[in-house]
Structures are given as structure tokens and as C-alpha cells.
Symmetry: C2
Subunit: 679 residues, 2 copies
Amino acid sequence: MSTKATSTRRRKAAAPALPPDPDGRRRAVIEAVQPQIDGGRFPICRVEGEGVTVRADAFGDGHDVVRVQLLDRPAGGRWSVTEMTPLVNDAWTGEFRVGGVGEHEYTLRAWVDHFATWLRGLGKKVDAGVDVSLELREGALLLRDAADRADGTDRDVLTALAKGLDGPGPAEERAAAALDGTAAAVASRYPDLSLATELDRPLRVRVDRERARFSSWYELFPRSWSPTEGAHGTLADVADQLDYVAGLGFNVVYLPPIHPIGASHRKGRNNAVEAEPGDEGSPWAIGAADGGHDAVHASLGTREDLRALCDAARGKGMEIALDLALQCSPDHPWVTEHPDWFIQRPDGSIQYAENPPKKYQDIYPINFETDDWQALWRAIHAVVVGWIGDGVRIFRVDNPHTKPFAFWEWLIRVVQEAHPDVLFLAEAFTRPKVMKRLAKLGFSQSYTYFAWRNTRYELTEYFTELTRTEQHEYFRPNVWPNTPDILTEHLQHGGRPAFISRAVLAGTLAASYGIYGPAFELCEGAAREHGSEEYLDSEKYEIRRRDRDDPRSIAWLIRRVNEARNTHPALQTNATLRFHGSDNDRLLVYSKTDPAGGDTVLCVVNVDPYNTAAGWTHLDLGALGLGDEPFQVHDVLGGARYLWQGPYNYVELDPHVLPAHLFVIRHRARTENDFDYYL
Amino acid sequence: MSTKATSTRRRKAAAPALPPDPDGRRRAVIEAVQPQIDGGRFPICRVEGEGVTVRADAFGDGHDVVRVQLLDRPAGGRWSVTEMTPLVNDAWTGEFRVGGVGEHEYTLRAWVDHFATWLRGLGKKVDAGVDVSLELREGALLLRDAADRADGTDRDVLTALAKGLDGPGPAEERAAAALDGTAAAVASRYPDLSLATELDRPLRVRVDRERARFSSWYELFPRSWSPTEGAHGTLADVADQLDYVAGLGFNVVYLPPIHPIGASHRKGRNNAVEAEPGDEGSPWAIGAADGGHDAVHASLGTREDLRALCDAARGKGMEIALDLALQCSPDHPWVTEHPDWFIQRPDGSIQYAENPPKKYQDIYPINFETDDWQALWRAIHAVVVGWIGDGVRIFRVDNPHTKPFAFWEWLIRVVQEAHPDVLFLAEAFTRPKVMKRLAKLGFSQSYTYFAWRNTRYELTEYFTELTRTEQHEYFRPNVWPNTPDILTEHLQHGGRPAFISRAVLAGTLAASYGIYGPAFELCEGAAREHGSEEYLDSEKYEIRRRDRDDPRSIAWLIRRVNEARNTHPALQTNATLRFHGSDNDRLLVYSKTDPAGGDTVLCVVNVDPYNTAAGWTHLDLGALGLGDEPFQVHDVLGGARYLWQGPYNYVELDPHVLPAHLFVIRHRARTENDFDYYL
């Protein structure tokens, strides 16, 4: 029997230590607070003015009345207090709204409310006809305590109420006065919080500006944007042609690295190991004799030109995003100034990038395990702050998952402490938990697996995960149908219908999306080789002038998608995305609604780029705010209008005409005389 | 545009603070560690020798090899290290086994393993025929570092391996030597942990003795156990009759409070507000002139008698559980010695218990919010330690949910620090989250809602929650078909078949169960009034002598259930409970298997006490460790044997004969000549 075995281990009982006062008397507990990322280790994120709905379990021992409050504040500011509402099963809910950009905090407190408990008991006793004269004296004591905590008029009111309670009149009348609501209302404002329980530490919200949630990106290689055949494009050329991008409706123009490009081991066209004379090299092979991450490639222009470009973009409602690619060409100044920031091999050479047996001799990875890591971090910080000084407020970070998490958490925090309007997009095409970690630690947005999710099942599963799980609290997806590295097989083989449907899906499933143009709108689908996602004659390694006026361009479609995004708040959020059914699994049906109410958009996309798909929708009318009445759906892509009613409505989409409907739902107006009277 | 608005808030950039060295270089992260209760706020629980399977996500930046280890130790002892195994998607798993009773700890560490990364790269390069002479020099450096961390022979081995690596032979041969497994094996024992990541703090396991997991309780009122008609039973009488309880197969004898009973406002028979002369009163109205919680009721005997009873029980493989009911009769010594431990009303009286408008004037609740709470806690601690001194190792705690959580967490901790073999059963018939909180904070076992779960659906849902969710990590259910307070309608109306089926369900669904006897085995079903769960002529208020030899007794059945429990390890755990299907929803089918392997028990219970239920089982053969071969099921309740095969087998249970099968599964022996050759 184990008792015997353990009794030999019994230690001599010492006077046991007690918890510090008043912890032993805090009777309420708070558990299971949501949202809360990894026990509060990471903040949730919101944009300015958004709401946060908090749920928690809170209860005390016994049967006394427990009160729970939600407290929130801009970090370092004053707490606002919101009374939480009980749900079933000891769960509570409350909501607050964040203010401007920066850090916001929230916490909870819960306590046993003796006055409310007393009042509840009084009511029951009065109902049961029990004598309550002693109870009234107790209530008076509680009200006097409340008066001591109150100020001004309330203090007088509470004192008067207390006086009335144990005053001379008949007990029934005094009890009725206590129960009339005034005492409860006034006393509730002055609770005794001396034994209240709070969370160990506040939870955090990272509040970003609106662009973190809603953004439409256009990626372009400035060197290809010269109006002159054979010339190297410049930042000034881009500035001159911003109307094209603005006209498409984008609000972020993202430039691959604009820094000097290394000459050593430079890659040639189509990623040839040896460059030919005149080859421009990859912008991601950063650094040359004339500078590194803090310099502008001389052929592109100057920092002045970048500043001018930022200003010009801002003037057209757009902004410039720069690439932050933390790797160096062998010619980067850091290689000679800080050889210890790289891995040095036994023969004195510096370790180039490799994925054995592949070698990338034009790239030196930075060694973040260097003993001099602190100087390295400071240098990168200085690079970022420098570009911010030139007007850049968005950074697209190349391969953040190959640099330490701790570094990013620090960099983003310190940059945003000084510049809370700066945003970072993580180009983390990597494993799911790594992507999530980067989002948790501070990245404002993240690339996704969207490019490889093509079927109805895949898209439904993936966007449900992105928008309906805890991930939605910290991970903002930015979906790209193509990038200079990613020309999917779906686009290679699906042709124009695939480009159109992917543009519609990207622009309507996600509040942030981007395309790499003009390759995208020109439906460029040629890959370097079978089975590769690399573009043939990739712009990564050469200048590619294009005829943006080519009649095959789907710029008109992209313009309509962005116009819908810019005019319909429903498309500027992921919070309200809902999938609807259909009896044809090629037809993906989904809707979004403006959380502020009203505006609803309904999309139907034929995900098969080859064949016509026809079938019946199975709409969740409740999610659309609709009832049995007919409603009009107006396709802002194709222009058609249909009068629908109920969940089942016929759809037929020929991908070679237009593979998608982007419907605005118009409710019937009061005047029902005419078909067009839908608002 | 928000950029403008926020730029006015821009603060002047100061030199940003850096994390302390080497935190900025710790590249591995650990997330989502399971099991972990409320972020490590509470321990998980196990009994001596049980295993803990730990899962976590761990990964680093980039593509280097990450290693993850699980560390565990008895609190304050030396860490044992277990290498964790990678699963898919950056998840890892590992297992450790706890030792003796007391607190155990576990934590994780993860780091980037440069030697393993190097070795992986070397292998790929060798396979690709790349020259590796420089790589071999790098490997030699890594091995020399490992040698510096090693001792004895391993140090010599590593030094020799390093020497060989950059020695004179052909590179291919040196590479082959590095890849032969020895270097990997030896070097892996001496990792560079200088940049390893660990959890912020270890997670905890509360290790109890086996009785915490497996216990069979028999509750009895000693005052009813006198062999003499009309006499007040004593602790000595109970000691004399322990063979009856031991013969039924129980291992815990639980006594309602054995303390002096108050006279003031004493309740009479059937809870009458006024006691008649001679009424014994409720044992839960604790305290009289001759003592309180630390005294034995004079009519029951003395502390010596209790000590003798504890010894006698232990001699028969049982132990005594006492009731810890923290409330006082108006005559309790604490009322005069410590009036401030109670709520004092404005007229100087002490607040009695009430549930308005009901009054319980024989009970004074203790006021745990008293300013003198620390003395109160110490006094209760002294009471518990006193009974421990008399040999008591199990306390059944009355209504713990009406005393503060912080108090229980402290009391159980300090008691178990000195007496780690002491167990506490929470009689918390309250809301789910309150019950769970009490289990988390330290109660070894808890009462459950079992008494009110009667249908197949209810039982399946409830026991799935208890055994297959996180709750299983900290909450040990103790299920009771009846208690002195609970005579369910199911028992009132279901008669003998209901008593039998509830006994079988209790004893086989849960590793811990109890009955209040002899009322239970005598199938007493008379309630005080319609709609009440109170017994008629409840033993709580009077002495009830019973004829335990009444032929209607189902003692024989309970004996068989307990015999099965005592001989089949499968029934001593909840970890392996699995529900199987059947095509009749009156037939509940479930199994349990000994986690150590082999022993499997299969139960089929007709949950309808009125009608015969017949149907086909839908067995999950895999969960039973069975294949296509026939197997024998031997009913240890009724004695019958059946030869079954496959998932579908016919069952017919007439509740008026026997409403349950408790099958032991016997696999066919190698010698197949005879029906009986099943083992």
C-alpha cells in the first residue's frame, strides 16, 4: 500500500506560509479570456477605430452576485471601464473600441458585489413577506460605505438613501424605496474594489492604420518602366507613369530592391549562372561598391527621386512600399566593413547561400548568430529608419523566416514605437506555424498560400481558417495570384479565364491583395520550363518593356475589381466573409458585409478556367441580411442585373466570357412600381 | 489619409534598447505545449508511475536542423532529458514517467543544431559529388567544440573524429567516416546549448498515490451501525463490522462528520424545523459545547476509537475518509471564541445560512472575508493536520464551492507539502466551470453529474467530456449513483433494475465511484415527497438500523462489480474508456483496456430499467485489440459466456433478470480444439 511507502517521506510540518493580504480574500476568478494570443505573449491586432469583443469566464465561490468589468486604454493612458454582460455558464462578454495607432491594452476585473447581493436577497425576502427590518439596517451600512467612495451629488444621494433605509418609516416602504432602482444604479458606480481580482497583466492590441487591413498592391520593376526602348527605367519614370497604376485603383506600389546590384557572380538572364556583359542582374543581389541597403541604384536615380516618387504617389492616394531583403552580394560594403556579420569558412572565404547541392554564389546570407549581433541589428534599424526618413511607410520583407524571430520582434517594435504608421508585409512562403509566428510577433500583413488554392474546397477551407479562427486576431492575409517568383501552373495553363478568376478571387476574398504587373494584366503565362513556376525571361534578371495597351490586357477587369473594393466597405474587411453553398462544386459562392452595416457584396466564381459551370446557389439568406423578399443582384463586373429570391438561384458562368459575378445586393425600395427601384 | 494624421504624433527616435545577450540569438521557438492547464497556472495530475505524453510546436528560422528535448524532474531534483520526436507540421512529441508522490516538473528546450545541420549538408553534397574538403574542415571545428563539452572516452572519440575529418586521407573517405553514424551519435550527446530556448518556467505535475485514480467508496453513518436495537452506533461498532464493507470489495469507507452536533435550532426527523426530544440532529450541524471540528461526538467514541478504526480498515485493505464541512452550528466553540469569523448583523446576532426566503438557522456559514482570515485559515489547517495525525489520509470536502478558491489552493498545497499522500474529494455539485476550477487548484477527485445522466446520449457525452478532453488532465471524476442528499427520480421509480444498472455503470465507467449504503444495496427508493431527491426518513436526521441480510439486497452484485474492478486493471483507469455503437439506443456499449496492455473489459448496459432491450453491437474492434478472429466474452456478473466475432453481435438484456453484461474478453488460445480455450 502506497501510504506506507510515502509516510516515510513525510516532512516535519512547519507553520505554512499564507498568501499576502488581501489575496486570500479575493473571491472572484477570471479564466479563459478571449481574444488572447499564446496566453498574452503576443498582442492581437486591429486598425484604428475597430472594436474588440472580449469573452471570459468569471465567477466566485458561493452564490453571491459577481460583477465583471472590461478595462481598456491606449498604452500609458487612462483606463475606460465597460460593464461586462453575463452569458450562460459563467461566461461574460464586453466590447471596446480602439483609438488611434499604437499600442492599446485591455484587462478584466471581477469581484463579489455585496450591495447587489444584498439587494437581490432583499427582493426575495420582500416577495416572500419576510420581515426585513434588520436587512434594511445592513443595506444602510453598505450604502454608507458606497457614499464614502463617492463624490459630489452621488455622495449626497447615497447618504440620503442610507438614511432613508434605516429611517423611521414602515419597513415595507423603506424596502420598496431600496428596490426602486436608484440605489442599485448609483451604488453600482461606487463598488468596493478592495478585493477585486484582475488579470496578472494587461493584454495588448497592436493598432495599425487602416492600410494594414485594406490594401491593393501593384508590384513593378522600375527598371522596366522607361518610355525609351532599350533604356534603364528610373524612379522618375515610375513617378511619371503613376496614373496608370492609380487608374487601375491600387493604393500601394511595391518596388523590388532599389539598391546597387552586385557584380560578383551576377546571375544572367533566365537565372544563368554567368551573366553576359550588359546583364542587369537581380535586384535581390544587394550591394556594390557604391553602396548597400541604404543606397539607391545609380541607374534608378537618387534618394531625392525616391522622395519625389513617394510624394507623387501620396498625391494620387497611393504610397510606395520598399523591399527589405536582408542579404548581401559579395560586393556589399558590409562584407568588407563587417566580415564578422557573415559566416567565414576555414579558408577565409565567406559562406554563400546554398541549398545543397545548389549554390547561390551571388548571395551572402547574414549570420545573425554573430557575436556582433547587436551592431548588426542597429545597422539594419538604421537602414529602415533612413528610408522612413525619405517618406516610405511600408516595407515588404523578403524571406523574413530565414532571419531570427527575436530580431523581427525587436525591429518592428522599435520602428513602430517611433513611427506607429509604418507597416511590414512578411514574404514568408514557408510552413504554417512559422508564418503565424511572424504575424504574432509584429508583421502587419503576410503573404499566403492563396496562389496554390484553386478548387472550391481548397479556397473554402483556407479562407475559413484565415478569417474564422483565432488566426484572424493576429494574421492579416495579403493574397497574390502571381509574384515575380510565382507563376502557378493554374495561370500557366488556365490562360485569360484563369487570370480573370484569380484576380476576382484575390480582390474579393481578401481585404489585401496584390499583383505583379504588368505581367499579370497582360496574362503572361509562359514559364521557363515545364514544372517550374519561374517566368520565362523573368524580369528578375532583365529589363522587360511591355505594351500595356495590348488589347488582350485585362486591366479593365482589374480596374472594376478595385473600383468595387474602393467603393464597398464590405470588401475592405475579412471579418464578415461567409461561404454559401451551390450544387456545382466549380461554383464558389461567398459574401462580405460592411461590419458597420448595410453594404453587402456577393461573389460567384467559376473556379474551372476551361468549362462553363452552371448550377444553383444555396444562399444563407440570414448572413446576407435577406428574408423572403425578392432582391436585385447587380454584377459590377459584367454589368448585368438579376432579380433573385430565396436561397436557390440559377447561375451560369462561361469562363471564356467572364468566369465571375461580383454582385452588389440591392434591396427593394419602398416604391415597388419599377424593376429598378432597388437601393 | 491616416499617414498625415499619425505623422504629427511621431516621436523623436532614441537609440532603441536591445534584448540582453544572448536572447537575440536564440533562434528556436517553442509554442503550444500540451498538456498545460491555463498556460501553466495549474498543474496536470497523475498518480505514481504514470506517463505524460507531451506535445509542442518547435521550430527555428531558416532551414537548419532543430532539436527539441523534454526535461522532467521531481520538484527540486535532477532533470532527466528525453529527446523529442518530430511529427508533421513542426509538432514534436515525447514522453516521461513520473516517480513517487509529490510535485513533478517538466519543461522543453529547443535549439539549432549546427553539427546535425552540417552533417545533413555534407550528406547531400557527397551524394551530388561536390568537393567537400572545406566542409570537412568545418566539421572538424564543430567536433572539436563538441569534444570541449564532453568528458572521458567521448571526449577522446570526438577529438579523434575531428582529427580524422581534416586529416590527410582522400576527402571522400573522410566524408564517409563522418557520415557513418558514430559522429552523429556521440556529438548529439554534447550539444551547444548556449543559445537554446527554454520555457519561461517549468510546467507542473501533481503526483498522487494510486488511490487518487482508483477508489471504491462506501459511505455509512456510524450512528446507525450499532448491533443493538435503539442504541447509538459508534466508531467501534463500525470497526467491528468492517468485514461487511471489505467483503463488498470497497477500499474507502467514508464517514459523514463525526463531530459534536449542535443543539440550537437542531433539525428534527425529515428535516423538521423543530427537533423532538431525542432527535440526534444532522452531523453537518457541527459543534457543541464539547467541541467543534477537532472533536469526536461523544456518542460515537473518541479520537482513540477513530485511530483504531483507521488501523482496522488499513488491516483490511481499506481506509477511512472523513468529512470536512466548514460550517458551524450556533453552539460551535468558534462562535464564541472567534465571533469575527462569522457575519455579524446590526443587532449583534450572527448571520445564519439562508437561500432567501429559506432559512437554515442551525448553520452559521464562516465568513472568509473576515479581517482575521489568516487566523481562520490556520485554524482550519490545524483541524486537518490533527485528523491526519490520527491516521486519516482522505478528506471528503463538503460544498467546497462555497468557500474561496484561494483558500483551497493554499490548504491543499500546504497539507500535501507535509503529507503528500493526503487526498481531497470535492463535493462540488455546482456549475461546470466552478467544479473544474476546484479540480485545477488541487482537489484530487470530484463528485460529478453522473447521478443525473441516464440515457445513452447523456452518458456518452458526459463521459467523453470527462475522459477525452483536457479536463482529463486535471479532473478525476468520482461517480455516485446515490448520496444521503441524492435519491434520483431514476432510482425512485426504476426500482431494483435501476439500482443494478446504476451500480454497474458507476463501477465500470469510472475508476472511482461510491455508494451510500446500506440504503443503496437495499434498493431504498422512497423519497420524502414527490419531486424531491431527499430520502424519506433520511439518515441525515435520524438513526436508521437496517437488515443488511434482506434477501432483496443487491450486495452480491456490488461484490461482483468490485471484484471485477479489483482484478481488472482496465477498470482502474479512465484513460482508455471508449464507446461503441449499437442499433438500440437503450444499449450503452463501452470498453476499457489496461494501458499496460492486454486486459480488456467490455460492458453492455440496458439503460432502460423497465423494458427488455435487444439489438446488435457495433464494436470498434481496433479499440478492443481484436481482428477478424472469434473471441469469447465472459460475463462476470451473470456468468454466461458467448462466442462472438466481428463488430456485430446480438445482445438481449431483460432488466428484471440482469440489465447489464460485464464482459471480460478472452482471446482464443493457440490450441483451438476446445471452446474453453480462451485466455
